[in-house]
C-alpha cells in the first residue's frame, strides 16, 4: 500500500476518426453537422492515459482510478458501453456540450471543480492523467489548466512512459522536439501527466469488467450534473473545411527505372 495512488483520468469523447466532418453554425457557435448522431469514441490519447492508469493502479494495490468525462449524457453512455469493458474504473460524468469549439478554460474550470469535490480523493496521492491533446480542439491546455487550478506544479506533457520507484518517486519520459524524450525524475505525487501514445496496447474487451463497471456507470450517468461553459470572450470569425484540392497526375505506365529517375530529379530540385 506504500505507493497506493489516486489516479484521475480526464477524457473527452470525440467523433470516430473515420467519420466525415462538416462544420456548421449553431445558435451557440460553431459545431459539426449531425454532431449528436456521429459515432463517438473515447479521445485516443486520453484512452492511452486510461490504459496506463489502469496498469499503474493494478501494480500498486490500494490505488483507485476515476474517469472524469464531460459530454452529453447520451453520448457518454454510448461510448462507455465499449470503454467499460477495457479496464475497471469509477466514472464521474458531467453533462455538457460536445465538440472542439467550446473554450478550454471553461472546460478546465468545470473539471477542476468536479475533481476537487470527489469523495475520498486524497490530493496528496493524486496523479492527474489525460491526453496531452484532444482530437477535437487539440490545444493541449485543458489538463494543464486543471492541474494549475488544483495547485499542482509538477506537470509533464507528451508522456510516453512512467516508471514508479519504491520510494514513491517516478521517472517520466516526455516527447520533445526531434523525436527524443526528455527524462525527468519527480519526487512523487501530486503530478499532472498528459499522455501521448504510451507503450500499452488497447486492452481486449472483458465482459466481466464491463458488467462490474456498468453497475456504477449507469447510476452515475443518471445523476450527472449539468455544466454550462462560458465563452470567455472567445469568438469565431470563420470555421471551414480546407478547400485545397490538388490536380493529381496518376502515372501508370512508367518503369521502376523511369519513376526512380523522375523522383531523384524531384528530390534534388529546389
Amino acid at each position: 500500500m506504500a505507493n497506493a495512488m489516486h489516479i484521475v483520468v480526464c477524457a473527452g469523447i470525440v467523433p470516430d476518426p473515420l467519420q466525415t466532418l462538416e462544420p456548421i453554425t449553431t445558435p451557440t457557435g460553431p459545431g459539426l453537422k449531425n454532431e449528436m448522431v456521429l459515432p463517438a469514441v473515447l479521445d485516443p490519447w486520453a484512452a492511452s492515459a486510461l490504459y496506463e492508469a489502469a496498469a499503474l493502479a493494478a501494480k500498486n494495490p490500494g490505488s483507485k482510478l476515476w474517469l472524469v468525462s464531460l459530454g452529453p449524457k447520451a453520448k457518454l453512455q454510448q461510448v462507455m458501453m465499449t470503454v467499460a469493458q477495457k479496464v475497471a474504473f469509477e466514472l464521474v460524468p458531467i453533462d455538457g456540450p460536445i465538440g472542439g469549439f467550446p473554450d478550454a478554460h471553461s472546460t478546465a474550470a468545470v473539471l477542476a471543480e468536479t475533481i476537487a469535490s470527489l469523495p475520498g480523493l486524497n490530493r496528496d496521492k493524486l496523479l492527474l492523467f489525460g491526453g496531452w491533446e484532444s482530437a477535437t480542439r487539440g490545444a493541449g491546455v485543458t489538463l494543464q489548466l486543471v492541474g494549475e487550478r488544483l495547485g499542482i506544479t509538477d506537470q509533464f506533457q507528451g508522456v510516453d512512459q512512467i516508471d514508479l520507484r519504491d520510494d514513491g518517486s517516478f521517472e517520466v519520459l516526455e516527447r520533445v522536439e526531434g523525436g527524443k524524450h526528455q527524462v525527468s525524475i519527480c519526487a512523487g505525487t501530486p503530478a499532472v501527466l498528459g499522455w501521448a501514445t504510451g507503450n500499452l496496447a488497447e486492452p481486449r474487451n472483458n465482459p466481466q469488467v464491463g458488467m462490474a463497471n456498468m453497475r456504477t456507470i449507469m447510476p452515475a450517468l443518471a445523476k450527472a450534473k449539468a455544466a454550462k461553459l462560458d465563452a470567455n470572450g472567445l469568438s469565431y470569425l470563420s470555421v471551414s473545411l480546407p478547400k485545397q484540392q490538388r490536380t493529381t497526375r496518376v502515372v501508370k505506365d512508367m518503369t521502376p527505372d523511369q519513376i526512380a529517375a523522375e523522383l531523384a530529379e524531384w528530390i534534388g530540385a529546389e
Binding site: 476518426p17 466532418l21 462544420p23 460553431p30 472542439g100 469549439f101 478550454a104 478554460h105 480542439r137 487539440g138 490545444a139 493541449g140 491546455v141 485543458t142 494543464q144 489548466l145 494549475e148 509538477d154 506537470q155 509533464f156 506533457q157 507528451g158 510516453d160 519520459l173 516526455e174 520533445v176 526531434g178 523525436g179 527524443k180 524524450h181 526528455q182 527524462v183 525527468s184 519526487a187 501514445t197 496496447a201 470567455n232 470572450g233 472567445l234 469565431y236 470569425l237 470563420s238 470555421v239 471551414s240 480546407p242 490538388r246 493529381t248 497526375r249 496518376v250 502515372v251 501508370k252 512508367m254 521502376p256 527505372d257 519513376i259 526512380a260 523522383l263 531523384a264 524531384w266 528530390i267
Partner: protein, 342 residues
Amino acid sequence: MESILVLTHADETGSALTKASLEAVTAGIDLATRLSAPLTIGIIAADTAASASSLPSSGARLLAVSGEAFAQARYATDADAAEAIQRAASTTIILAPGSSRFTRIMAGVAHRLGGFVDTHITALGGTETVEASRWFYRQRIEAVLSRSARPWFLLLDASTHAAFAGESGAAQVENISVELPALRTTVSGFRAPTQGAQTIRPDAKLLFVAGAGWTKKQPDGQVHVAEAGELILGFLHATNASLGSSKSLVDQGGEGNSVLPFLTHLNQIGQTGATPRHAKGLSTCCHGEEPHVVGWRFIGSRRAISLDPNCGWTRGKADVVYVADAFPVMAKLNALLEAAKT
C-alpha cells in the same frame, strides 16, 4: 491599445535562442508594426546575455530570467519565469513558440495571470485587432478566432514565420529575479529511441512516409521486412529525410511483431500522430486517410508510390501518384541518389 510580449527560450546549448523562438520574434515584430504597439521580448535561459545577442536590432525592450535552474525545461521553473516576465512587461498580447518547453507551461501561466491561451496558431491577421488562425479536429477544420479578454497568450506553430535574423551585438537586457519554490522535479537528460538511428528530422526538406504495405506479402508470396528496412534506411541516409509512418505500420511494431524495428509511435503521422511541416513529401505503400490527408496537411509538394490506382485518398491530395511496386522503385532510387553523391 495593444502591447506585445514575445516569450523566447534558449536551445540545448543554452547560449542561443531556438529557431522557433526567433520565428516568434518575427511574428511579434510584424504584429507590433501592424498595430503600432510597443514590443517587449522576454528570454528564459541559463545565460541570457549570449542568448540575447541576436536581438538588439529588433528594437524591442528585452527582459530576461536567467540562471542554472532555467537551463532545463521544467514546469515549475519555466512557469515561474514566464509569469515573472509577463508581470514585468504587463502586455495585452503574448506570443510564444509552440515548443515542447512552452506548450508545457503556457496555459498554466495564462491562468495565473488571469489570461487566456490559444495554441497551434498558424497565422495572425486582422488590421485593428488580432485574428488567429488554427486547425481543429486534427487538421480537418480550419478556424479564425479572436478574443476580447486580455492578456491573451498565443502559441505559434513552428515554421509558420521566418526566423528573425538581425545583426548580432551586445544587448541591453533587464534581468528579472525569480524566487523559486523547492523543486520536486529534476531533469536528467534526453533519450533517443533505442531502436537505432535517429529518423525524425523536423528541419529536413523531405518527409518520407512508410505505410503498412511494406510489411505485406510481395508477389513471391513472402514478406520482405528486412529488405524493406534496408531500403527505407538507405533512402533516409541518402536524402537526410525525416521518417513518418502510418498508424497501422507503427501498431504492428507495438504488438511485438518483427517489423521495421526503427519505427516508434514518435514517427506516426496523422490523426493520433504528428502533422509535420516539410517542403516535400513522398509516401510509399500507404492506403489510408491518415497519412494523405491529416498527416500531409502542411507538406508542400507531395508524391506517392502506390499499387492501388484507385486509392481515393491520394486523388486530389498528392501531386503525383506512381502506380508501382515500391520495392524496385526505391532500390533504383537509392542507387541513383548514392551515385549522385559520389
